[in-house]
Symmetry: C2
Subunit: 414 residues, 2 copies
């Protein structure tokens, strides 16, 4: 008998029919004798509609009120799921964020979980009751509803699993696992059966939109095993047919490169002729951070005549804001700004890289052979990212997938 | 400077455009220097959709989960209204039922308010902040969300007005007041400028769907002046152009009959040949009450041979259930049951009746002259109700309206 946290995303609970299917799945786990906590997202479309309402009234709306509005979506699903479980003869009740409580800080819209009250939950779970928790929401120190940011239901699930000491956190979504590359682009991509938190973190933050980044961080910190699997398959999580995110030690056969991610929504900004003196980077990136522009890759060219060029990438949607900041707020002089929108970031990720030389070289050679120009390079211990023209995305992904020996590799041998 | 509670129903906040219009109205009251508490319903259609979801999964759903689901509608409006007010430069915040708290008993789906925490609210109101409260919801002793029954937002508003010692509770709806009869049927009907709680109670429970019955009871108990007015008119509540519900003493010019209500959704049930002995009524109506069948008018015919006929009216939707109870559960013998669905209850209501003879006589004569057969009669101190065939509804209403001198009476002289 295990304690499981099962999380179902928006497409898994898109309508009443899907909610009933999910309820059937949950019942199979309870009938197998497991204690179950269910975390649900809003029925798909609802959150977007509620966000749209807030934006329609005021683009610069009060985020605490926004949280009160949008958290209603998950609240609705939690009650409906409890009703669906009860119909199947399973004891169940909904537990809203403030009822548990899931306490967060006061950063509305992007709150972080500080603590979770588990005593009452444990009592009800011991009593054979399924706890249905709306994801994405918590309660602040001011006793108001907070939300954890888009995709925050993953974080709710992993945080609950960690707090309750769950044996596993199953994230049911519309894909049946994490792949070596986007299968829509690389047909040879295969499902990864086990991946480390660190690798998943790089893949999550690089655009494989399977798990919210923070949920993986939390899993790594707490050691909760996270499984990504499809709610549209007939299997339940206990069959372990999805992708398991675990510690490095739990991965038996290490490969050098685990997967290749890409991200299309980047924009490149180059600031030409920046005066090259200490603290110039702070003068440039400080105001950008203040304006909530998330800077990703940063490259500084060699200095000449006391001037340098600074290149960085940001999210495309932040481009207009970034230019405004550069024109009005930065505390250093420069000649001009050049921007480029049609760029794509490609990253190869793998724990094995740490002990293998030549991984970067394979990447540069492969791209060079195909005539693909690299704009920016950035590396970490377990990944190498390059920025290229968008037009070459498919070509780069497929060539790299082959070059790293990922094609047709049976990484999911069940 | 007054403290006002303003309640806006579903059609008044049906979409973002209407929410913005209502926000403008509220701002006019705050600019006039009033402290304002706003109570909002769900955007029209949302509650029905949420109720539909619950029914779709299980008609016999857990009502506590139902409450968690349907209360989300008002929660959404409250956040959106706060955002709309803030955009207009007015300080505002939403206050959910559990945040205030509005404490209720544990009767989910039809909870009754037990107490309201007003200290924090008063602090914020004194600080010039508008409090936006989702109607219809509270928190039970088990710290779960409860709802007050359909139309419960009226009760939320009046209860808040009573607890806060408000000067007036304005119920904004889609009609501009209470009329002497339904203007769609009686074109000569006129708006009533002042009506007593008792009269309003009779009219509310008799089918003038303007105010939830319990809200009027609460107004009578607490003495809060309630005004019914239209959110679609250009005026605000402080102009007092709607219908004011007040104590009998505050009504200057008393008329004998204030208004005529009708109710089409009644069904008549006659139980023939019931054994006539003490406690037979309890044996008949006890099981009906237990099955939540609301019995309205009751008439018992004279007894013959130790047997009597019992006639009563119920809501049409309860008819099938009532027959089942009569067949299976009643603890007395009878010959047979006759039912009739196409009936209408017509009631003349007026405080003035208490001191005037002949009101009933006028009714019977008027209906008799038009050849309208009366099935059942029931009276109280301030009303006389008759049950007639539905076909005669319009004829009866118009004839009675004329007979009681209500035609073209200028009861709204502003």
């Amino acid at each position: 008998m295990a304690l499981l946290v099962l999380k179902f995303g928006g497409t898994s609970v898109s309508d009443i029919e899907r909610i009933e299917c999910v309820a059937d799945k949950i019942v199979r786990e309870t009938h197998a004798g497991h204690k179950v906590v269910v975390v649900v997202s809003a029925m798909s479309g609802i959150t977007d509609r509620l966000v749209g309402y807030c934006l329609e009234i005021n683009e610069l709306h009060d985020v605490s009120e926004y949280d009160t509005v949008v958290s209603a979506g998950e609240q609705i699903t939690s009650g409906l799921m409890a009703i669906a479980l009860q119909k199947r003869g399973v004891k169940a009740r909904s537990w809203l964020g403030w009822q548990i409580p899931i306490k967060t800080n006061n950063v509305y819209g992007k709150a972080r979980i500080k603590s979770i009250g588990i005593e009452e939950l444990h009592k009800h779970l011991d009593d054979g009751e399924v706890a249905v928790v709306p994801g994405f929401q918590g309660i602040t120190e001011e006793s108001r509803i907070s939300t954890l940011g888009r995709g925050g239901s993953d974080t709710s699930a992993v945080a609950l699993a960690a707090a309750l000491g769950a044996d596993r956190c199953d994230i049911y979504t519309d894909v049946n696992g994490v792949y070596t590359a986007d299968p829509r682009i690389v047909p040879e991509a295969s499902k990864i059966s086990r991946i480390s938190y660190e690798e998943m973190l790089e893949l999550a933050s690089l655009g494989s939109k399977v798990l919210q980044t923070r949920s993986v961080e939390m899993g790594a910190k707490s050691g909760v095993a996270i499984q990504v699997l499809s709610s549209f398959d007939d299997e339940v999580g206990s069959a372990l047919k999805g992708t398991l995110v675990v510690t490095e030690e739990e991965i038996v056969e290490q490969v050098i490169v685990t997967g290749i991610a890409h991200r299309q929504d980047e924009a490149k900004v180059t600031v030409i002729g920046v005066e090259d003196r200490p603290s110039v980077a702070a003068g440039l990136f400080g105001p950008l951070a203040k304006a909530a522009v998330n800077v990703d890759m940063i490259v500084q060219n060699i200095s000449a005549d006391g001037r340098t060029d600074m290149t960085f990438t940001i999210n495309k949607t932040d481009l207009a804001r970034a230019i405004k900041v550069l024109e009005e707020d930065v505390e250093c002089s420069y000649d001009k700004v050049i921007t480029r929108e049609n760029v794509c970031k490609i990253s190869v990720v793998g724990i094995g890289m740490q002990s293998h030389a030549g991984v970067a070289n394979t990447m540069f050679n492969t791209l060079g052979e195909k005539g693909i120009n690299i704009h920016v390079i950035s590396t970490s211990e377990i990944k190498i990212s390059v920025l290229i023209d968008s037009d070459y995305t498919e070509l780069a992904l497929r060539s790299l997938h082959t070059a790293y020996g990922l094609d047709c590799q049976e990484s999911n041998p069940e």
